[in-house]
């Protein structure tokens, strides 16, 4: 209960500071939009030269991309860990976090919240609606709940992987250049998984389960029955991923000694 009330207090505080600098907010949102546009342009240009990608149509691929943007936006809003090493380990901020009465991971999530990332879900929903209507997909009333469940699952997978990566900082001193590259790899979960060699398919499913943030759950809405079992597995993978990463984090915090500065 205490955690919930702290969460909302942080959120309120966050809104106040952010709304003070509205231009910054606008610029951040625009640059998010541009990042999404880059990927969209890639898809549109490619489909200017071909009609099918391994049996998947342009609108289906667009739908997957639209879906992907939603869990990604949720992840981006709450798990800003990409500069964890510099900010918390190198500069010694972690010492302060550990004196707080909250779980250290939760404390960092609160401090680094970026709620405006949630706006990134809006283009995602628009793309889904556009592609969905062109494919004349049928929706049931319960699909809303399935959607929410799959989005949470996907966001937890992202969170799990990036928390685990941040945890490396507790064990190794050197700064890591892995994070930006991981962002790259994550984008391959947005394409039909059957185009890849089985090694990559295996990696994207079981090692770095990014396929569960894009193609698998989207397949449910696209009525691709052969992927249903994977689609419904998404929340489970999300829970497992997240739990493992929290365990790693706690183990890392126990090893943490501070930089001494």
């Amino acid at each position: 209960m205490f955690y919930v009330s702290v969460f909302f207090q942080y959120m309120a505080q966050y809104m106040k500071t952010k709304l003070q600098y509205r231009t910054d907010l606008l610029i951040e949102w625009l640059s998010d939009l541009m990042a999404q546009a880059v990927n969209l342009v890639f898809l549109l240009v490619v489909f200017g030269h071909t009609t099918l990608l391994h049996g998947w149509s342009r609108d289906e691929i667009l739908f997957i991309y639209g879906f992907f943007l939603v869990p990604y936006a949720v992840f981006g809003a709450f798990f800003n860990l990409w500069d964890f090493n510099e900010r918390y380990i190198v500069q010694g901020e972690m010492d302060r976090v550990l004196t707080r009465p909250l779980n250290s991971l939760f404390q960092i999530v609160l401090e680094r919240m970026e709620l405006e990332s949630l706006l990134g879900a809006v283009p995602g929903l628009i793309i889904m609606l556009y592609a969905g209507s062109r494919l004349s997909l049928s929706f049931h009333w319960y699909d809303v709940f399935v959607f929410i469940l799959l989005v949470i699952g996907g966001a937890l997978i992202y969170a799990g992987i990036f928390i685990s990566l941040a945890t490396i900082s507790f064990f190794a001193d050197a700064r890591t250049s892995i994070m930006p590259m991981m962002y790259n790899i994550s984008s391959y979960g947005r394409y039909p998984i059957d185009i890849y060699h089985r090694v990559i398919r295996y990696i994207l499913t079981w090692v770095l389960p990014f396929a569960f943030v894009g193609v698998y759950p989207a397949a449910y809405f696209l009525d691709k029955k052969e992927w249903y079992s994977y689609a419904f597995f998404t929340p489970v993978v999300g829970m497992v991923c997240f739990t493992v990463s929290v365990m790693l984090w706690n183990a890392g915090v126990r090893r943490y000694r501070g930089t001494g500065s």
Binding site: D24, I27, E28, L30, S31, M34, A35, A37, V38, V41, F42, V45, V46, G48, H49, T50, L52, L53, H54, A174, R175, T176, S177, I178, M181, M182, N184, I185, Y188, Y191, P192, I195, Y196, H197, I200, I203
Partner: protein, 263 residues
Amino acid sequence: MDKYMEMVRIRFLMMLAYRTNYYTGILIYAINIAAYYFLWSAIYGGKSSMQGMSLGQMTTYVAISWLARAFYFNNLDREIAMEIRDGKVAVELIRPYSYLGMKAVQGLGEGLFRLFFLSLPGLFFVSLFLPLQFPGHAKTWLSFGLSLLFSFIIFSELNLLAGVVTFFTFRNEGLLRAKRFIIDLFSGLILPLSFYPDWAQQLMAYMPFQAISYIPSMIITESFQGAAVSDGLFTQAAWCVLLWFPIALLWRVAKKRLVVQGG
């Protein structure tokens, strides 16, 4: 000149201290390129060529453009913006060297390091299991080397330009981010410009971004033949010179109106 060479060396050694990271980097790069390869195979879907490029050429194009990026990429714009915000730039300006020149050679030091410790081993590793096509002519390789050097100069000039603009705006996080996406999209990194619709191609021909990635990658895949190679190199050289003027001009003004807040 000696002090600049020394700076290249120091940056190189600084990066060398963190080399273990780059082993994982090579692996991740390999996964990346392999995934791209399968994506493009699916896009080709059995077609023998698209826009005059075969699948082999396309794979090589993608592999080389990411490796070339490791060489020409740097964060000079962010570094300059940060030094202005922290007030460190005041100290930099009284040092007996050209501030922008020093920044550029630091970028070169980093780039050379990544060329030797990320790009070349990465390329070797990837060529073990992907069908990359390398040109047999020494002339192509020479043109590519020259082209890559131009890429570095143009990319750094754009970064310096964005950095110098910070002298006037103080905060330009948004501009820097926007520049990154524009370069990703218009430089031909994510896909060859020849795939874009005609009107877009005509527009891009007037911009400096194609000189960063598209031209060198087209040269190494031998998608550019004969006169196209020398035209490409000439375009790059022209942009290297042209971009220098706005930087020099803005820099002259910026030095005079620099305000250091604290430091």
